[in-house]
Subunit: 391 residues, 2 copies
C-alpha cells in the first residue's frame, strides 16, 4: 500500500528516536522540522535557498490552495512540486484545521487555547464542513473525500486525513462527539485514499481528543487500528506549556511506534526538545518563518539578550543599528555570513523587500541546524548537552 514509502528507526536515546523517512521525492532524516509554504511558497524564499539552508520537507496548506488557485488548476500545471519548483518531499494538510481555526485567531493561538472570535465556518455536519472561502467569500463544502481528492490533485508525497480540530473551550461531551465524527471522517479519508492510491502518496491518521486522557487513548487506538502510513497528533493541546506536554505525552502513549509520528503546529525550540524526548519524529509550525518577517531572528541561548526564555532577538531594536555582528557568529547561513545586525536593522526600517527574506533564511537554517544537532545528540547519546546549547 505504501510501497514507495518507508520509515526506519536508526537509533534511539531513551524515548527519543533518529529515523529515516523515505518518500518518492527523497529521504528525510528525523527528527525533522517541516517549513510552512502555506500558499505554495515559503514566503520570500526560493526553493534553492531552502535547499541551501538544509531544508528537507515543506508543507503547503490544502485550505489555501483549494480556494486559490484551486487543486485542479495546480494538477493541470503538473502538480504542486512542479508548480512551486520544490524538488523535495512535500506534505499537505487536510484543510480542516484552517476551516476550524481561521477566524479564531492564529494557528498557535488555537492550539494553545488562547482567544476565540468569529469564524469562516458555517456548519459542521456528518458530510463535512461548510465554510466561506477566505479568497472569494464563496460558500464551499469540504468533505473527507473532497479533501483527499484535493490533496491527490496537489500531489504532495505526504497527505493527512480530514478531521475536526476542536477548540480548547469545547467541553468533554462535544470533544468526544467531534472525535468520533473525526474518526468516521478519517476512515472515509482512508477509503478514498485507497480507492485512488497510485503509490505516489502516503496518508497520516490524526489523533484527536482534546485535553482528555481517555479520549486521546481512544483516538490513538483508532489510528493504530487503521492502515495509515503515519500518525499526526492534532487538536488543542491545552492552555499552558505544561498542559501541552501532558497532552502530547498521553497522546503518544500506546501509539504504534513503527509509524512516524508528527506533532502538528508546534515549533518553539524548548517545545521541540520536549517533543523529541517524548518520541516525536517531525514538527511543523509557521513560527520560525512568520517571526522572521516581523524582524525576529532565532538565536541559541548564548546569543540571547535579557530573558533567555525568549528564543529570538528583535532586529528592530535600536541597539542593532550599531551592531556589526551577524545574527549568530557561529551560523553558516547566507545572511550570517554576509550581513550584520546593523544592516538587517537598516533594511527593516527602510521597509526593504530583502529584510524578511534575509531573516527567514537565518531562521530556516537555524531550525535545520537545531534538528541536525538533535539527531546527532540522539545518535551520540548526548542530547542533554545539545539541549543546553540551544535553549
Amino acid at each position: 500500500m505504501y510501497r514507495n514509502f518507508g520509515f526506519d528507526v536508526i537509533d534511539c536515546y531513551e524515548k527519543s528516536r533518529a529515523g529515516l523517512l523515505k518518500t518518492p521525492h527523497g529521504e528525510i532524516e528525523t527528527p525533522a522540522f517541516i517549513f510552512c509554504g502555506t500558499k505554495a511558497t515559503v514566503k520570500g524564499l526560493f526553493p534553492c535557498q531552502l535547499i541551501d539552508a538544509g531544508t528537507q520537507l515543506v508543507l503547503s496548506n490544502t485550505y489555501h490552495l483549494f480556494s486559490n488557485p484551486g487543486a485542479d488548476s495546480i494538477k493541470k500545471r503538473g502538480g504542486l512540486h512542479k508548480f512551486m519548483g520544490w524538488p523535495g518531499p512535500l506534505l499537505t494538510d487536510s484543510g480542516g484545521f484552517q476551516i476550524f481555526s481561521l477566524g479564531h485567531g492564529s494557528v498557535a493561538d488555537e492550539i494553545k487555547g488562547r482567544r476565540s472570535g468569529t469564524s469562516n465556518l458555517i456548519e459542521i455536519n456528518e458530510q463535512g464542513a461548510v465554510f466561506k472561502s477566505y479568497w472569494d467569500g464563496n460558500v464551499q463544502l469540504l468533505t473527507p473525500e473532497k479533501s483527499v481528492e484535493t490533496q491527490r490533485n496537489l500531489g504532495a508525497d505526504l497527505i493527512v486525513a480530514f478531521d475536526e480540530c476542536t477548540p480548547y473551550h469545547s467541553d468533554k461531551n462535544y470533544t468526544a462527539a467531534a472525535m468520533e465524527r473525526s474518526h468516521r471522517w478519517e476512515k472515509r479519508s482512508l477509503e478514498e485514499f485507497i480507492r485512488g492510491n497510485d503509490f505516489s502518496q502516503a496518508i497520516y491518521g490524526v489523533v484527536q481528543g482534546g485535553v482528555y486522557l481517555d479520549l486521546r487513548k481512544r483516538s490513538a487506538e483508532f489510528v493504530n487500528e487503521n492502515p495509515f502510513f503515519a500518525t499526526a497528533i492534532g487538536g488543542t493541546l491545552g492552555a499552558s506549556k505544561e498542559q501541552m506536554y501532558e497532552v502530547v505525552e498521553m497522546a503518544m502513549d500506546g501509539l504504534d511506534a513503527v509509524r512516524p509520528i508528527h506533532l502538528l503546529g508546534i515549533g518553539g525550540i524548548a517545545d521541540i526538545f520536549r517533543g523529541v524526548a517524548l518520541g516525536i519524529d517531525t514538527f511543523d509550525c509557521v513560527h520560525p518563518t512568520r517571526i522572521a518577517r516581523h524582524g525576529n531572528a532565532l538565536v541559541k541561548v548564548c546569543h540571547r539578550t535579557g530573558d533567555s526564555s525568549r528564543e529570538h532577538i528583535n532586529l528592530w531594536s535600536a541597539s542593532c543599528s550599531v551592531d556589526d555582528d551577524p545574527i549568530e557568529p557561529d551560523c553558516d547561513c547566507f545572511t550570517c555570513k554576509n550581513f550584520s545586525r546593523a544592516y538587517l536593522h537598516y533594511l527593516l526600517k527602510a521597509r526593504e523587500l530583502l529584510a524578511p527574506s534575509a531573516i527567514t533564511i537565518h531562521n530556516v537554517r537555524f531550525m535545520n541546524r537545531l534538528m541536525e544537532e538533535i539527531r546527532g545528540g540522539i545518535i551520540n547519546k548526548n542530547l542533554k548537552y545539545v539541549k543546553d546549547k540551544w535553549c
Copy 2:
C-alpha cells in the same frame, strides 16, 4: 591620480566600443548595465543572486543614504561594500539628481521631460542646494564638498561630481547659467576629491547643457579639460526618443574618447542599442528592476505579445494563469529554469513576497545577457544581428 583604475578599449565597431573598466573591486566588461541598489540593496535580491545573474556593477544613491542611515554611519559599519554585502564594483551618484528631481515625478519622467510637480528643493545658491530630507523632513544643505565627502565615506569605487540637473522646461538662459554653476560645482568636487584621494575611488565629471547644442559642446569641453577619470552624460535629454538620441549624439561629440562614458538614467532595450551605437560604455536605470516589482518581465522581440515596441510582458495578464512556459524558454536565469508564467502570475495575485524577487532576477539576467551579447556583437562585428534578436 587613478592608479587603481583603468579603462581600455578592446575592440570597436563603427562608433560602438567594447572595453574593460578596472576598479579596486573588479573589472567590468563594457558595454555594461548598472543596476540600481538605491538604498544599499537591489530591491528583493541577495548579492549572490546578482552575481549569479552576471551583474558587474551596482549603483547606490547618495541622496537616499545621506538621509538614512547616513554616510558616517555606513563608514563606521566598514563602508558600503561591507554594509550591503556586495563584493563587486560600486558606483554612487552625487545626490544632486534626486534633490532636483524628486517631487518632479520619477527619474525617467524627469530625464524625458514629462510632468512637473512640487519639489523637496528649497533653494539653489552658489554654495549648493538646500532641500528637505525625504526621510525625516529635516532641512539639509548639500554642497560639492559635502557630496564628495559623503561619497568618500560611503566608499564606492566610482563616484560622481555634484551638479545641477535642470528640468526640461528650463529656458536656455537658465540652463546656461545652471550649467556654468554646475561647472564651478564640479571643479570644487574635483578639488575636494583630489584633497582626500587615497586611490580607492575615481570620479566622473558630468556633461550638462540641456537640449542646447552649443551648451552641450561647452560642457563637454569643460569635462575634457579637467582631470576626471570618466564622463557621465546627465541632465534632461528632451521630450521625445528622437530628441534624446540627438541630445546624446551632440553631448558625445568632442568628448575625450580615452575615458569611459556613462549615460545617466537610460535603460530601455532600444535606447541601449542607440546609445551603444553612439559610443556609450555604461548605462544605469531603475527601469528593469522597478517594472519587475510591478509584474513586468523583459522579453526579447520573439516573446512579445501585441505591440512589439513594448519591451516586456505583464505577468498579471489573465492569459498567464494557464501558461506553463517560463518567461523566456531560452533564458538561463533561476526564475526561467524553475518557475512558469502561471506560477509567477499566481504569486503576484496572492501578493507573495517571492513574486517581485523572482521577476527581478529575470530582468537582471535579461539585461546582463543583453549587454553580453551587445559586447559580442561589437567584437564579432555582427551588432545588427544582435539588435534584431533583442528589439
